[in-house]
């Protein structure tokens, strides 16, 4: 692969997908532009029906877009013929919500499938299967059939299978949505590990905030077939701009809408990843003031706290100044909010 240093690995340009339905058409994707760099874990989040599944399925042409371009390593996959597409698909693996394993084949045979179709000699393929099963910690299940495995184990088999062809990209189509929270954690950890150790770029779609928060470096919020906002996960979480984003992050309008405040308040924004608890405790101790918390919406991302808190403005002007100065010194953004 010939990648110049900053060229994105996947580039989506003006992508449109229109479905013809009886009595009209449905625009599933409406002018999507995305740029995914090598080595990223890129999350695409949206409510159901936002078009995220269609988008990721266009990236290996399981769905055919109506218009636009998808460049992988600089090559437009939409202009490829069947044969070129087949070769590209071996470099762009995919895992699914329902795992999609071959139910009549053993775990080892499932993992060997991509090697078989690529014509890898049997002995070499079997060796590789062993290595892959080791990566996903299922060496002891080589001869089991998928039905004998739990959901999490099945997804691990699917991941091993996806890795068999030495892909550059792993597309995850709601890969953890059918799993319980504990299992989701372990699968996410595995994806992160694969990303770090093997340098595989991961693109995942999900409707779960926690998934994005936990492993993604960048995120795009998809809403009604359009990208509502895009950026680093930290940035998008702290400075959520789009309505879709606020809805997804569970930010109730009243918490952000300044007009809904009934008494004078101070808005404290935790955007540097400061711990909220000690800061309020220290404020009480160091300034000797009582703090009345009106509302708080703090989320932990990558072990840091992000979000905002509304506290009642001290009635005394001096105390107010003292509090604001203290919080500013702590590196927090403080803003006065007036009631309606």
């Amino acid at each position: 692969m010939h990648l110049s240093k900053n060229a994105p690995l996947i580039e989506v340009k003006n992508l449109r997908k229109v479905y013809q339905v009886p009595g009209g058409e449905v625009v599933a994707l409406d002018g999507i532009n995305l740029s995914i760099e090598k080595g990223q874990i890129y999350g695409i989040i949206g409510m159901s029906g936002a078009g995220k599944s269609t988008l990721i399925r266009c990236m290996n042409r399981l769905d055919t877009p109506t218009d636009g371009q998808i460049l992988i390593d600089g090559q437009n996959i939409l202009a490829m013929n069947e044969k070129q597409l087949m070769i590209t698909r071996r470099k762009v693996s995919m895992i699914f919500q329902q795992f999609n394993l071959l139910m009549q084949k053993t775990v080892a045979r499932n993992v060997r499938y991509p090697l078989e179709i690529a014509g890898v000699p049997k002995a070499k393929a079997n060796q590789r299967v062993k290595e892959l099963l080791k990566i996903v910690e299922l060496e002891d299940k080589a001869d089991a059939y998928p039905i004998q495995l739990s959901g999490g184990q099945r997804q691990r088999v699917a991941i091993a299978r996806a890795l068999a062809s030495d892909p550059e990209v792993l597309l995850c189509d709601e890969a953890t949505s059918a799993l319980d929270p504990m299992t989701t954690q372990s699968i996410l950890a595995l994806l992160q590990d694969i990303n770090k150790r093997l340098g595989i770029t991961v693109v995942l779609i999900t409707h779960e905030m926690a998934v994005i928060r936990q492993i993604c470096s960048r995120v795009a919020i998809l809403d009604g077939g359009k990208i509502a906002e895009e950026g680093t996960v930290d940035d998008v979480f702290v400075h959520t701009r789009s309505a879709a984003g606020k809805r997804l992050f569970g930010i109730v309008p009243s918490q952000q809408d300044d007009t809904a405040i009934e008494i004078p308040a101070l808005r404290i924004v935790f955007d540097e990843g400061k711990e909220s608890q000690p800061i309020i405790a220290e404020l009480v101790r160091d300034c000797g003031v009582n703090v009345n918390i009106l509302s708080a919406d703090i989320k932990r991302i990558n072990g840091k706290s992000y979000g905002q808190m509304l506290i009642e403005t001290p009635s005394d002007e001096d105390t107010k100044k003292q509090v604001m100065a203290y919080l500013t010194r702590q590196g927090l953004t403080v803003k006065e909010v007036d009631p309606v």
Binding site: R89, F96, M103, I117
Partner: protein, 218 residues
């Protein structure tokens, strides 16, 4: 009771059923594959072809077997050298069973989870690889169940070839039993019992084999 004739009929029935089943599967299986892959949502969509093939299959299936035998007599003579007798009757049996098997096989393939086929596609499989390594292996248990049904149907049809002088235990039940009057009814019952036993054996084998081959059962 003419046991020798029953034994001879049994062997002829086995011959007709096995030959017809094997040939019909060799023809019907590819047709079933074509029916599935050329569907609008198949892996090689060809809606017009699919519609034409479907219509031909439905046409052949709609002709009652006894009429098909009669209508095919000139063709049978051309293909088999004669239109009469046990061997000749294999031809109409194949013509009748092939479209039926194509549908049975199609149904089995349709049971394969679309997600699995999609995954195979996403891994860069060719159409052939999807057919050989996914579609057929994944539907083996269902194909076996279908085969037991198809063979049973062919077996039942062999009785009708008595119309063109075909042999077999079913044909003898009619020609050497029923048609010779009440005195020979016991022969008819004995010959029929053999048929019933054969069907039971096929059905039980099919069920057991299906269970053994299906890895979706824990």
């Amino acid at each position: 009771m003419n046991w020798a004739l029953i034994w001879q009929g049994f062997l002829e029935t086995c011959m007709m059923t096995v030959c017809s089943s094997v040939i019909s599967y060799l023809l019907g299986m590819p047709l079933g594959v074509l029916l599935v892959i050329t569907r609008k949502d198949g892996i090689k969509p060809a809606p017009t072809f699919n519609a034409v093939l479907g219509a031909v299959i439905n046409f052949l299936r709609s002709i009652p077997f006894i009429l098909l035998i009669a209508m095919l007599i000139p063709v049978t003579r051309a293909v088999m050298g004669t239109a009469i007798g046990t061997s000749a009757s294999v031809f109409p049996l194949v013509i009748s069973a092939t479209p039926y098997i194509a549908r049975v096989v199609e149904q089995s393939f349709l049971e394969v989870d679309g997600g699995v086929i999609e995954a195979a596609k996403a891994m860069g499989s060719t159409t052939w690889q999807i057919i050989w390594k996914v579609l057929i292996p994944e539907s083996v248990p269902s194909l076996v169940t279908g085969a037991a049904m198809a063979v049973t149907t062919i077996l039942a049809y062999t009785a009708m070839v008595s119309a063109v002088g075909g042999g077999g235990v079913g044909a003898y039940a009619i020609t050497k039993g029923y048609q010779r009057g009440k005195k020979y009814y016991d022969f008819m019952y004995a010959a029929s019992a053999v048929l019933v036993l054969m069907v039971q054996v096929i059905a039980i084998t099919g069920t057991r084999l299906t269970r053994r081959l299906d890895h979706r059962i824990r």
